[in-house]
């Protein structure tokens, strides 16, 4: 039987990886469709992307969703990783909202080809990382979860960004003990560890 969910994104982790991590953590099968940067301009107009962008998620029954964090929140709700109460869900949302700005800024610094532009972007990112991670550290739970006492989608969203931060400047997370504990808890999750071991290796 075909999986209920078909997820289309670029080849890398980027904004799409949280949804993949959520399905992986829940042990839910999904179609993991990846479009290369070369293919994208050619297929763009023929894909059922509601706002002409990636990612989009096709749900069996005929609904197509877009916007990476809306898709991730939906996947989290479908798999019980959204938060137990309205309040917990709002608190999870807060973490996701705050960290989201960092990912495209980081991508800009990592992928810039012109040295002067790269240096400029790195300056902005180097300022933003401690601001954002500092705020999250202050609010994070101390038990290996950002909110409450179990793995929620916000842990996976923050893990995804922090993974790229560590690649960009190894050792950064050491300054944030509670966030480090969240990272370790995510990495120790067997299904997540298996996914990380088998997912394509990409720069970002």
């Amino acid at each position: 039987m075909a999986p209920k969910y078909k997820f289309t994104y670029f080849y890398g982790r980027g904004r799409g990886e949280p949804t993949r991590l959520i399905f992986a953590a829940a042990g839910v099968e999904f179609d993991d469709v990846r479009i290369t940067l070369d293919q994208w301009p050619k297929v763009k107009d023929s894909l059922p992307a509601p706002m002409g962008q990636l990612p989009f998620l096709e749900v069996a029954g005929g609904v197509t969703l877009c916007q990476s964090m809306s898709i991730a929140r939906f996947a989290a709700k479908e798999t019980g990783l959204a938060g137990k109460t309205n309040l917990e869900q709002a608190q999870a949302d807060m973490f996701v909202d705050e960290i989201s700005e960092l990912l495209p800024k980081l991508a800009g610094a990592v992928f810039a080809s012109d040295e002067a532009v790269k240096a400029e972007k790195a300056k902005e990112v180097d300022k933003m990382i401690p601001e954002k991670l500092g705020r999250l550290e202050k609010l994070s739970g101390a038990n290996g979860h950002l909110v409450g006492d179990s793995l929620l989608w916000c842990d996976l969203v923050v893990f995804n960004v922090a993974f790229n931060v560590e690649n960009y400047k190894p050792g950064t997370l050491k300054n944030y003990p509670k966030l480090t504990k969240v990272m370790d808890t995510v990495k120790a999750n067997k299904r997540i560890a298996d996914w990380i071991a088998k997912r394509p290796e990409t720069k970002f």
Binding site: L65, Q67, S70, Q89, A90, M94, R135
Partner: protein, 204 residues
């Protein structure tokens, strides 16, 4: 029922979507508007050092869209099913993208020639393309999810009216009849209509 206290500066800004949801929901709340010199004292006592914040029964939430979603959920304005909720979320995210593009590419652009060029592109290419996608997502009755007013409809109205004053003329809904209906549904909602008449006139 808990008592709600929303704190922001004296303007619409990122808090207005929350105020519109409270209005549509008919939920009473304290609408606190800070002067700039009151902010430094409060700042360290907020979850992420930013406004708006929502206080209720000893808890503080931050991040305007997370707050809006929380209040909307309690009032049944966030979508009735997980799929409808995802539809609401994706339209909200799309409106945030539209607002951010305006802010970062146009509002903050210092070079006058570049600014004029980007404004032209925004009004003549980007918005019509985006509105075309949105028009497809709206129902014939003028709702983005289900068949009644949700946070998505409110977000559409809020962001378009937020951007309009900075353009030569308001963004056109010609050719997007369903979006016109969305706008009409929002402005004719009794709670919102009352708020639009009574809310303080502010420069932003």
């Amino acid at each position: 029922m808990p008592s709600y206290k929303l704190t922001y500066f004296n303007g619409r800004g990122t808090a207005e979507i929350v105020r519109l949801v409270f209005a549509a929901a008919g939920t009473e709340y304290e609408d606190v508007r800070l002067e700039q010199d009151q902010w430094p004292e409060l700042k360290p006592n907020t979850p992420m050092g930013q406004l708006p914040i929502l206080e209720m029964d000893g808890t503080m939430l931050c991040q305007s869209n997370s707050i809006a979603r929380y209040i909307a959920k309690l009032a049944g304005l966030a979508g009735k099913t997980p799929l409808d909720q995802a539809r609401v979320d994706m339209v909200m995210d799309g409106m945030v993208d539209m607002g951010n593009k305006f802010a970062y590419e146009i509002y903050y652009e210092k070079d006058e020639d570049k600014k004029a060029e980007k404004k032209k592109d925004y009004v003549e290419k980007y918005v019509p393309q985006f509105f075309s996608s949105l028009n497809k997502l709206a129902s014939d009755g003028g709702y983005f999810a289900g068949d009644e007013l949700t946070l998505a409809d409110i977000a559409f109205y809020n962001m378009t009216t937020m951007v309009n004053p900075y353009l030569e003329q308001p963004l056109s809904l010609d050719g997007f009849p369903k979006l016109q209906k969305v706008e009409d549904n929002v402005t004719s909602n009794p709670g919102i209509a009352k708020w639009l008449k009574e809310r303080p006139e502010t420069p932003y």
